[in-house]
C-alpha cells in the first residue's frame, strides 16, 4: 500500500482532495434536511414522546375517514371509464355543459374555483370538470342499461305515471298579462291569426315558433323545449296543458299570469325520441330505488372488477347497498 501510494502520490492527493470536498458538500447540504426514522422496520411519520406513529398506522387512520370515500369514487370512476368510451361528441357535450354552468355561476358572482370546491366538498371530485365528466358518462351508462332492459323499466305503468314526451312551444310575452297593452294584444292576435294561415300554421310549428315566439332561448330552435314529464319544473298551467296533449296535438292558447300566452305542441311521446334525454334517464332512475347502484355493481362484474381484500369488496357493496358474490 505504502509502495503504491509512493508511486501514485499525486493521484492519492487529488483523490483525498475530492474526498474532502465531497464530505464538506454532503455535510453542508444535508445538515438542514429532515431526518427519517424507522421503528420495527416501518417508516415513522411522527412521534409524540416515545410513541411512534408509522406510515402504516396513519394509512389505517386515514382509510377510516377519507379513504373509504376516496376508494368508492375510484371504483365508480373505474367502472364508468371502462364502460363508457368518450367520443368527440361526448367531449363536446361535456365541454358545453361545463362552459354553460361556469357562465351561469359567473353571472351570480362565483368563479370556477367555487365550483371546484363544491364538487370536492359534496362529491369528492378534485375539480368541477371531473364531476361533470363523470356525471355525463354515468348518465350514458344508465341510459344504455335502461335501453337493454327497456321492458323491465319503461313499462306502460311508468309511461302512464310519468307521461314522458318531447314538446315545443310559442310564447307571446306580456309585462302584465292580466292587463295587456294594445300592442301586446295585437301581437297575440297576429300569432293567433297566423296559426291558422297557410304559411305559419301549427302543422309547421317549427317555422311558426321561429317567426312568432318571443322566448329567446327556444325560438331559434323552432320552439323546442325537449323532454318533459310530470315532474318538469314548469309553470302549472303550461305543465297541465302539455301533459294533456297526445302526440302531434297542439294546445289552445294557454294563459299564464306571469309570462303571457303559450301555444304548446307535443312533438313526440315515442320512447325512441327521448331515450337518451338526461331528464328521462333521471326519471327512470328515480322511479326505481337503487337502480343506479345496481347498474354500477353489475357493470363492475361485467368488467371483472376484483377486490383482493375482502373488506374492500364488502365496503363497496355496502355503499352500493347491493348483495351478491362478486369477485
Amino acid at each position: 500500500m505504502a509502495k503504491f501510494l509512493k508511486e501514485n502520490w499525486f493521484v492519492a492527493v487529488i483523490a483525498a482532495f475530492f474526498l474532502c470536498i465531497s464530505i464538506f458538500y454532503a455535510v453542508s447540504t444535508t445538515k438542514d434536511n429532515l431526518p427519517g426514522k424507522t421503528a420495527n422496520g416501518k417508516d415513522v411519520v411522527f412521534s409524540v414522546d416515545d410513541t411512534n406513529v408509522t406510515a402504516d398506522e396513519l394509512y389505517d387512520e386515514l382509510f377510516k375517514t377519507y379513504g373509504k370515500n376516496n376508494l368508492f369514487l375510484k371504483f365508480f370512476e373505474g367502472v364508468i371509464d371502462a364502460s363508457v368510451k368518450e367520443d368527440s361528441a361526448m367531449t363536446t357535450e361535456i365541454n358545453n355543459s361545463i362552459a354553460s354552468t361556469i357562465n351561469y355561476y359567473a353571472q351570480q358572482g362565483y368563479n370556477e374555483e367555487y365550483l371546484n370546491q363544491l364538487s370536492q366538498y359534496y362529491y369528492g371530485y378534485p375539480t368541477f370538470r371531473e364531476y361533470v365528466k363523470y356525471s355525463i358518462k354515468g348518465e350514458r351508462l344508465y341510459a344504455s342499461y335502461i335501453e337493454e332492459h327497456k321492458d323491465e323499466y319503461v313499462t306502460d305503468a311508468f309511461i302512464a305515471e310519468n307521461s314522458p314526451r318531447v314538446i315545443s312551444y310559442c310564447l307571446i310575452k306580456m309585462d302584465k298579462p292580466a292587463e295587456p297593452t294594445a300592442e301586446e294584444t295585437d301581437r297575440l292576435n297576429a300569432a293567433k291569426d297566423a296559426c291558422n294561415s297557410d304559411k305559419y300554421n301549427v302543422n309547421n310549428f317549427d317555422e311558426f315558433a321561429k317567426k312568432f315566439s318571443e322566448d329567446t332561448s327556444t325560438a331559434p330552435n323552432g320552439g323546442k323545449l325537449g323532454y318533459m314529464d310530470k315532474d318538469a319544473q314548469l309553470v302549472e298551467a303550461f305543465l297541465k296543458a302539455a301533459l294533456a296533449l297526445k302526440e302531434g296535438e297542439v294546445s289552445e292558447w294557454v294563459y299564464d299570469s306571469n309570462y303571457g300566452y303559450f301555444l304548446i305542441k307535443c312533438d313526440s311521446t315515442s320512447y325512441e325520441d327521448f331515450k337518451s334525454e338526461s331528464a328521462f334517464v333521471s326519471a327512470v332512475i328515480s322511479a326505481n330505488e337503487g337502480l343506479s347502484n345496481k347498474i354500477i355493481w353489475e357493470q363492475s362484474q361485467n368488467i371483472n372488477a376484483t377486490f383482493p381484500d375482502e373488506s374492500v369488496k364488502q365496503y363497496i357493496m355496502s355503499q352500493l347497498n347491493v348483495e351478491g358474490e362478486g369477485k
Binding site: 503504491f4 501514485n8 493521484v11 483523490a15 475530492f18 474526498l19 465531497s22 464530505i23 458538500y25 454532503a26 447540504t29 444535508t30 434536511n33 429532515l34 431526518p35 427519517g36 426514522k37 416501518k42 417508516d43 415513522v44 411519520v45 411522527f46 412521534s47 409524540v48 414522546d49 410513541t51 406513529v53 408509522t54 406510515a55 402504516d56 396513519l58 394509512y59 387512520e61 386515514l62 382509510f63 377510516k64 375517514t65 377519507y66 379513504g67 373509504k68 376516496n70 376508494l71 375510484k74 371504483f75 370512476e77 373505474g78 367502472v79 371509464d81 371502462a82 364502460s83 363492475s300 368488467i303 371483472n304 372488477a305 376484483t306 377486490f307 383482493p308 381484500d309 374492500v312 363497496i316
Partner: protein, 296 residues
Amino acid sequence: MKKIIVLLVSLLCLSMLAGCGDASAKITNPKEVIMTVGDLKVTREEMYSDMMLTDGGTAVNRVATSLIVNAEIENTDEIVNKAKEELETYRAQLDGDLETALSSLGYATEEEFLNAIIDSIKAETLLTKYFNDNKDELYTKYAPLLAKIIVVNTTGELDKDGAKAKANEALEAIKSGKSFDEVAEEYTSNKGLAAETLYTRESSLDTNVLQYLLTVNEPTLSGVIENKNATGYYVIQVTATNKAQVEDKFKASLLNNTDFNNNVYHSLFEKHNFTIYDIETYNNIKNNFPHILVQD
C-alpha cells in the same frame, strides 16, 4: 488498479450524497393492489398518497393531539360518564340510526366513537387545566375587566362641542345618582357597548379607551374620554376588576380564542416533543397547522 481506486473513491462520494435528502416515510407493501376495476389498478401507495394529500395534515394533528391529550389528562369516571351522556344524546337525536351515522364518519364501533368524545372532553379539560395552571400569568398578559361604555358620537346635527357637552351631561347624571343603565339608555349611540362586557388588552377598542382601561385597578367611573379621532366621547363604568368576579367570562372568552388555543397546543406539542420524520407531512403541518410545529 489506479482506475479502480479512483472509481471506488467516486462511488464513495456518490454514496455519501445519495439518500441524504429530506426523509419520506413509506408504507409497507406499497405496490399491493387493493382493487382492480377495468384498466384501473388501485394500489396501497396510490391510496396513501391521495389520502395524505387530502387529509394528511388533519389526521396527523388529530392523532398527535389525541396522544398528547391522553398523556395529560387521565380518564376519570366524571369524563367517561359525561361522554356516555353525550353519546346517548346523539343516539336520541339520530332516532336509532346511530350505527349508520358512525359508519359514515369512519367509526367502526360505538366504543371508537365514545373514545373520540372522551378525547374531545379531555381536550376541553386540558384547556381549562392550562388556564388554571397559568392563571396569574394570563391575568397579567390580558388584563381582563368588566365594563359598560356610553358613547356620544359627533353627527351632522351634533358637532364636537355638542357631543362633548352631551357626554358631560351623561357623566353628571350618573354622578348625581342616576343608574348607568338608565343614563346609557338616554345618551348612548351604541346600546351594545352599554351592556356589561369583558375587555382585555387585546380587545378591539379605541386606543384612548383601551389606554384608560389598562390603568384601572378597581371599579371606577371615568371622566369624559375623547376618542382617538376626536369624533366621539366615552363615559366608562368599570364594574369589576377582581379576578374572582371576571374569571368565568375571562375563561369562557379564552377557551373560544383561537390564539389562546394555538398557544396552549404549541406549548403542549413542544412539551411532548412532537417530531415529524416525513417531509410531506412536515410541509403540510407547516402550511395548515403551524402552531403545532415545534421543530426547526
